[in-house]
Symmetry: C2
Subunit: 136 residues, 2 copies
């Protein structure tokens, strides 16, 4: 378990004023591989922090994304998901159970494209299909 003081420092290092709400939200996200939605973050952090409002969750997640502390996953059109993991990896969405799983990308995709003259800042690789557990 990451200590509060470490989380606080991490936020500060990204120029984010470490309020208790922000600390609790990042604490929930850190190491969480479930790619939670805004609502999931709200419901879970709210349990420990009952005065937390949903607007704060939206504000905080947007701030974290802007400050490059977490990334936003747009694998589905309807709602955003969030990932504490900024290292290069892909996301597999199971069409049956809805789970989103990380996978490794062993090569830089950008090398195998014809993109030239563009400044690439973010790379998102999504694969959809049926996961191990759901294949009959």
């Amino acid at each position: 378990m990451r200590s509060l003081v470490n989380i606080s420092d991490k936020l500060s290092s990204k120029e984010i004023n470490p309020t208790m709400q922000r600390i609790k939200i990042y604490e929930y996200l850190y190491g969480n591989k479930s790619h939670p939605t805004v609502d999931t973050v709200f419901v879970n952090v709210h349990k420990e922090f009952p005065t937390l409002s949903k607007a704060t969750v939206y504000n905080t997640l947007n701030l974290f994304v802007e400050k490059n502390l977490i990334q936003e996953i747009s694998i589905e059109g309807n709602e955003s998901r969030y990932d504490y993991n900024l290292t290069n990896h892909g996301h597999f969405k199971c069409k049956t159970c809805g789970s989103i799983t990380d996978f490794k990308i062993t090569k830089n995709v950008l090398n195998d494209t014809n993109i030239k003259g563009f400044r690439a800042e973010e790379q998102h690789i999504y694969i959809k299909g049926v996961c191990k557990d759901c294949i009959v």
Copy 2:
């Protein structure tokens, strides 16, 4: 310009009953590289077909995606975009002007991942950054 009878056959071949609304919508999408939103499709097809309703545009686009006639682009969390082009290619979104440009993928990304035991059905590669025209 693709003839109506060809579009009609294309829809039929995908088990889509070729009504006039569906034909007009596919006619608008076919060859359109702008990755339009639902609203853009509605506004443009509505010009030529004033009785068209937005609900029909939603129904039709969802049907086209289900039947694998077009693909849905979820490059941004807030709204879905649609692409008639089903061949393997990536999408570049310019953070400055908002444009979405296709790019070629010269290698199958799936070969360079550690996905095993999953059944991959769709692959989406999104890159965000600044496009040629917007780089100062």
